[in-house]
Subunit: 189 residues, 2 copies
DNA sequence: CTATTCTGCCTATAGCTTTTAGGTTAGCGG
DNA sequence: CCGCTAACCTAAAAGCTATAGGCAGAATAG
């Protein structure tokens, strides 16, 4: 029988695409098998079990996000960097809703440590250097930025901002503006 | 055979409790049937199907949250009200993680309209009256507050803020402080 | 170029879940 | 006490995860 050439990587990537199409919660081993036109049991040669596949998709998403964030921050600082980083998360969530959801799968300790998660915190902290904020305010600010980015993006995805004027792009710009003034206010400069 | 006395309400309530114990995603019709020591098929006399049960749990959570928010806002204004409302969401999410997750289930249009969702937006808007912010800034601010509250609470639940000093309570207080100064700055007063 | 080994994918199977169809019986209204 | 409603049942179909073991295509050794 024609071999399809499955590998763990291809499975994870296909799972990520499937997540974007039908939602991360609906990514099932059988759906994945159907997509490769392969028996479900064949997948188990490449992934230990289904939860493992899900965390691998999460790790992929976190890594892709970290790549984009690294690019976006290169050569920028201050509000420029703030806007760029915020847009990385928002754009990624809109282009790849399933992957974005996967990125917020709760990982066990080892997986979390091996993931690009800590890198995200470091990048946000790096962004704050442009505002010159001392500890412990810097940590608080990292958490605030993470909360706003994640909260805005998920509420937007739920459709929370689409039912009334003004449109979401305006609120997003306003929000980034507000964060910038807030951070400048806390600056020790 | 001894009748247990199932009703839709009891099922939904038990589902909500189950969600808090094992996670909203793990609330299954069979788990619910086991909890009542009843055959699974018996549930279908009280709920049309499983998705309906999930949305009913979501509606319950949204209503409970709205109740708490109403109480919290009564007689308060300004930063006092801001802190009270924020704490409603954070405390609810920590006491009832499964219900909180349920509250962010994406509902179809009719269910969403019939839910307490819009009420939450109205309450946040009411809170802003203490800051006297004109449109369209008020709408932007409603969305910002929603984003911060939801984002902070979910990142905290994921364990994102528990791995390093300062502890989460301090960041939360700092965040509410920051929001207050931000809103006062935008005040037209 | 053949023989052997490895392994990618298979079928079969078991246990769990959701959902439908239809039967039985408890317990109330008359 | 009779009968009706509805609460709960068993049976069964269909889909999902996971394990075990088999076959044949591909890589490798000689």
């Amino acid at each position: 029988m024609a071999r399809v050439g499955l590998t763990t990587e291809r499975l994870v990537l296909a799972g990520a695409e499937l997540a974007d199409e039908i939602g991360f919660a609906n990514v099932t081993a059988s759906a994945l098998a159907r997509r490769f036109d392969v028996a479900v049991a064949s997948l188990y040669a490449h992934v230990k079990n289904f939860p493992e596949l899900r965390t691998r998709i999460a790790l992929l998403a976190l890594a892709e996000l970290a790549d984009r964030a690294t690019d976006a921050l290169a050569g920028r600082s201050g509000k420029d960097a703030l806007v760029a980083l915020g847009n990385v998360y928002r754009d990624y969530a809109r282009e790849h809703p399933g992957r974005y959801a996967a990125a917020h799968l709760t990982l066990d300790a080892e997986a979390a440590a091996a993931s690009a998660g800590p890198q995200h915190a470091r990048m946000t902290r790096a962004l704050l250097r442009g505002y010159d904020i001392a500890e412990p305010d810097a940590t608080h600010a990292v958490r605030l930025l993470g909360s706003v980015f994640h909260g805005y993006v998920t509420l937007e995805a739920e459709g929370g901002f689409s039912h009334s004027a003004p449109n979401s792009d305006e609120s997003w710009a306003w929000t980034l503006d507000a964060l910038d003034t807030l951070l400048r206010k806390w600056s020790t400069k």
